[in-house]
């Protein structure tokens, strides 16, 4: 569908399908508006008052007509609901193997971090044709990562991770806006998404590296904060070993199991008492306020890297 004058660029895999629904809705709106306007104009002319003492006959109403204009809107609305929800659910989960980028919103700037170590402000380089998953958090108020050309948007909340994904289908530079009011320079918290050919992206990635990757930075923070004193590699420490943990199910004291994803790891670091690992005493204190968002992201990246080394033999049960 060639781009109409009043249509934002379609630069992501979902853009076209969102626009199809948008045009169906526009068609429904224009149809019913035109229908109502024309009926009213016709009645206004046809039944204008001819003489002052004209007395039209009373019409109570008509049940079949009422049923008609209740059922038809309900059907139309049902179609839109199913269409919109299916589209939304299909795209709510990033496909497996998506590239991971960390985004931190801070009052009036976007800080972007690539796993390989690239750090950018208000700019994000992404390769063409590969799904990209953004894991986002905010250091202060609620922001919102909005790329009109990709038809994606997600609020960025302080205190937790939110994520969105897209897959660029067009090379170029696209607007990035903050779409949740966040203070004085909310309007200035904009940037651009630079979509490059895969090889060009690799060159950019290699060239502009600023030293250590997130994983290495994460390891440094892990050591400095003294995590290994409890989380020993062989699992004999007071805390569970972190080898082979990321992405795998973890048994909790409450009996449930939860997959150790970014959100769970972040929660363990900031609010350890919430969902404690089975078999360990509640000794870990909270690191709330001691690690910046950036250090937190790096530590989690480091734990993720530990995820693919095999875990030590399980520890014998210790009664909490």
């Amino acid at each position: 569908m060639q781009s109409l004058p009043f249509q934002p660029e379609q630069a992501s895999t979902i853009a076209k399908s969102v626009d199809q629904l948008y045009f169906f809705l526009t068609a429904v709106t224009l149809f019913f508006t035109a229908l109502i306007f024309s009926i009213i104009f016709y009645f206004m002319i046809r039944y204008r008052r001819r003489s002052p003492d004209e007395r039209p006959k009373a019409i109570e109403g008509s049940f079949p007509l009422e049923v008609l204009w209740t059922v038809i809107p309900t059907l139309i609305v049902a179609v839109i609901f199913v269409w919109g929800s299916t589209l939304y659910f299909r795209n709510s989960e990033p496909p497996r193997g998506s590239m991971e980028i960390f985004v931190t919103g801070k009052q009036w700037m976007w800080k972007v971090e690539h796993p390989e170590g690239q750090r950018e402000i208000n700019e994000m380089h992404v390769p063409l044709g590969r799904p990209v998953k953004l894991t986002m958090t905010s250091e202060d108020v609620i922001h919102d990562f909005f790329v009109p050309a990709f038809r994606v948007k997600k609020d960025v909340l302080p205190g937790r991770y939110t994520s969105l994904w897209f897959q660029a289908t067009k090379v170029g530079t696209f607007h990035l806006f903050c779409a949740q009011y966040c203070g004085a320079f909310h309007a200035g918290m904009i940037g651009s998404i630079v979509v490059q050919e895969p090889d060009e992206y690799e060159r950019w990635l290699a060239g502009g590296t600023t030293g250590e990757s997130m994983e290495q930075a994460g390891e440094k923070v892990f050591q400095q904060t003294g995590c290994p004193s409890c989380h020993m590699a062989d699992g004999t420490g007071l805390g569970p070993s972190l080898l082979g943990v990321y992405g795998h199910p973890v048994k909790l004291t409450s009996g449930e199991t939860v997959t150790a994803d970014d959100a769970y790891l972040r929660e363990c670091i900031l609010q350890p008492a919430l969902r404690r690992v089975f078999g360990y005493k509640p000794l870990m204190t909270s690191f709330q306020g001691q690690l910046t968002e950036e250090q937190l992201n790096n530590v989690i990246a480091y734990i993720r890297a530990l995820g693919n080394t095999p875990p030590p033999p399980p520890k014998q049960e210790v009664k909490p």
């Binding site: 609010q271 350890p272 008492a273 919430l274 509640p282 204190t285 909270s286 709330q288």
Partner: protein
């Protein structure tokens, strides 16, 4: 104006009602609709409380163990007593027994005052234990040991709820005391008859409502989880 002469002889009847019965029915419906707004007003607090209690149960349980359940139970009984005396004062207004009306109204005020006194003592206790959010939040020693596992931040949330909910409830109690005082003054001036006692009934319903809020507040704040 034929209507207005008919109005004159019914004391307390206002002009926009046809008869006293319609007016009392309107007053009765009016207070009940007002109590529904109060249900929704406290409802916002109870809804937030329910969510955070589900999210951070350990911290809420630890926080609730800091409170003294025995004082809470005793205080609840005091408030139930004030509800009894309030109901009896409405009944004595119905039966036109002015002396009993004044007696029971004053009894209700005294019991209410006792409740507020105990509440003030409990608040003071919180300052002693340094668990007052933002004003004096520095739990230490045995209290800290008990709160720490659940997360200090969440414990502060619990105590914020404790002060917000019991504070708004106490505010409603104070307004209730003021209304009761106004009733006592009017009762002594013989303003109520067996036909016209709507104000007593309206304040009674308001007082019972504030008691019901406490009936839910006490177990939800004081008795979380097993206190073994």
């Amino acid at each position: 104006m034929t209507d207005s002469e008919a109005h004159a002889q019914d004391a307390g009847l206002v002009h926009q009602f046809e008869n006293l019965e319609q007016q009392q029915e309107a007053d009765f419906l009016g207070i009940w609709v007002f109590l529904v707004t109060e249900i929704m007003f406290f409802g916002g607090l109870f809804a937030s409380y329910a969510i955070y209690r589900w999210l951070y149960f350990a911290a809420f349980e630890a926080g609730s163990h800091i409170l003294n359940a025995e004082i809470g139970a005793a205080n609840t009984m005091v408030l139930l007593g004030s509800s009894l005396t309030m109901a009896l004062s409405v009944r004595s207004a119905q039966t036109g027994n002015r002396r009993a009306l004044v007696f029971f109204l004053i009894a209700t005020m005294i019991l209410g005052a006792i409740f507020l006194g105990v509440k003030a003592y409990e608040y003071d206790q919180k300052f002693v234990e340094h668990v007052v959010p933002s004003l004096d939040w520095a739990p230490e020693g045995e209290v800290l040991a008990r709160l720490a596992p659940g997360g200090l931040g969440h414990a502060q949330l619990y105590f914020f709820f404790y002060f917000a909910m019991t504070g708004v409830h106490a505010l409603h109690m104070i307004i209730g005391e003021g209304l009761l005082l106004w009733l006592v003054l009017r009762a002594r001036k013989d303003a109520f008859t067996t036909h016209y006692f709507a104000p007593v009934e309206v304040v009674g319903l308001y007082w019972h409502f504030v008691d019901i809020v406490w009936i839910f507040l006490f177990p939800l704040l004081y008795l979380i989880g097993g206190r073994y």
